[in-house]
Amino acid sequence: MAVLETFYDVMRRQGITRRSFVKYCSLTAAALGLGPEFVPQIAHAMETKPRTPVLWLHGLECTCCSESFIRSAHPLVKDVILSMISLDYDDTLMASAGHQAEAILDEVMEKYHGNYILAVEGNPPLNEDGMYCIIGGKPFVEQLKRVASGAKAIISWGSCASYGCVQAARPNPTQATPVHKVILDKPVIKVPGCPPIAEVMTGVITYMQTFDRLPELDRQGRPKMFYSQRIHDKCYRRPHFDAGQYVESFDDEGARKGYCLYKVGCKGPTTYNACSTIRWNDGVSFPIQSGHGCIGCSEDGFWDKGSWYARLQDVSGFGIEANADKVGMVAAGAVGAGLAAHAAITALSRARHKGDDA
């Protein structure tokens, strides 16, 4: 049950000194890309604002978003869920279960109507009246709609909630549907990725908590502070791309030298995310750094965009493996041969009628 105490109260109660608290505020400001002048603002917010209740629902998902979230280092996830927000319902992280847990959901929805944040991990399948995902005996889509009705804003965690991800890949038998196509009357913040970066998740929450508003979103509803640039734009292997030095296959000299992974299908140039700057596991590494191309997991429909090891998507319907280049070259060859034949017939017919119109 949520208590109306401020973050600062909670932090002090946990034995955190004022000095550590201010340090934490400056670290958070830096993590959000804000200048030092925002530190007092963050400190003020934390000292005066009551913690926002957050209800975290799980639909069709694999819990990788939660796994990522609990590894956040800046800020530490314990600071987020114990000091910043009041995570009142999250069936994978909470101690209570069954009727007790569901009772909390109802209580928060009633007490903080219009003031809580709904975080959704996974998405609702709509086929067969939503029977492919049952929570507490009812289809998840019903729970989602019910909880969303009183929410201030909705956070779509991960590619499942944002775009549909693997369960919505063709042919999408359960008709898994992203949250913003089911909930049409609330602001939805998409935090795509499979999973999203831990610090991006906590960063979004911290921003909303601190400034009491949604972060600035791009056209697709993603927070600009984390999703306005491509992996490619800040990739440390970018100089090899510009120079024309590529890994041609995974066991070649280029791979050992850390050349650009473009030719082995890296989706960094077409993927908007912060992996190449924030990286993963407290900044240890990210896929490209470990020698594998980006698979574009934070892009809409990435499962249906062809191989992870080719830039150019295959064309279906030709029976054999074909891409735009192969089809194009065959077509160009056919057209070339056709034109040559046409020219030959033209020449023959002209030769036969020579002098007709001279």
Binding site: A243, G244, G296, A331
Partner: protein, 254 residues
């Protein structure tokens, strides 16, 4: 002296000219009608666009399938950088040319300069002419109706394979360019809506790549047909795009 119609000349027609005394038939002498069709800005635009398409096609293909890896330090090469720079410069030439061509066609050019931008879908005459051209290319009919501007088949191909595809390449190209300049750049603000609509940055790359092949096939057919028409038809084609005058070799009614 009578005024001869366009078409083959007789020996008497040469009398009093510098060809006096020669045989018209041996010379294949003929009188022709010339009409000024392609005004200078249109011709300039045509050749600038042709050059830009050549550069765009080659660099575009190399961006998708880069040449073999270069050895040595990254700092001593800028191969992909130059390929992309050339692509972007040529894209600007193509785009500014396209915009200038639209302005010329709308406000300054002659009637034929506007034929590129739509097809008279609802006119029976258009379909009749189109069928006629197809018959000629299928070797069923010998000669098509003469046209001052573009014939119906040429116009159809130009409209779909050049104008619409070119416009798509400009719009999707600038959307892709905003990948690099950022979503808050003017390219991102003006063309950013394109990418979510076409399946993200990767989907847009994919369709932009198909555009390369559509235009490649169009260029092949375009070069073949203008050459063929120039040789076999009742009017000139290639020289019309260099000096602007279309030559009609006869005045026969269609």
């Amino acid at each position: 002296m009578s005024t001869p119609q366009s078409g083959p000349l007789s020996d008497s027609d040469l009398r009093g000219t510098n060809l006096d005394g020669q045989q018209a038939r041996t010379l294949r002498a003929r009188k022709v009608t010339q009409i000024y069709v392609y005004e200078a800005p249109v011709r300039l635009w045509h050749w600038l666009t042709a050059a830009s398409i050549l550069v765009l096609g080659i660099t575009g293909y190399l961006i998708a399938s880069p040449p073999a890896t270069l050895s040595g330090e990254a700092c001593s090469h800028f191969q992909m950088g130059w390929i992309r720079a050339l692509h972007f410069i040529a894209a600007w030439v193509f785009t500014i040319g396209f915009a200038g061509r639209v302005i010329w066609g709308l406000f300054f050019g002659n009637a034929w300069s506007r034929e590129l931008f739509w097809v008279p879908f609802w006119k029976a005459e258009y379909w009749k002419e189109l069928l006629g051209e197809v018959m000629v290319y299928a070797f069923i009919r010998k000669h098509a109706k003469t046209t001052i501007g573009h014939n119906a088949l040429a116009r159809t191909a130009l409209f779909f394979c050049f104008t619409l595809t070119g416009l798509f390449m400009i719009v999707s190209g600038f959307a892709l360019y905003s990948d690099g300049t950022g979503m808050d750049s003017w390219e991102g603000r003006v063309f950013g809506w394109v990418m979510p609509w076409l399946g993200g940055s990767l989907g847009t790359h994919y369709l932009h790549h198909w555009g390369l092949w559509v235009i490649t096939l169009f260029v092949m057919i375009h070069i073949y047909t203008v050459t063929r028409e120039d040789i076999t038809s009742r009017q000139s084609l290639i020289s019309a795009m260099t000096n602007g005058y279309r030559i009609f070799r006869d005045d026969r009614p269609d």
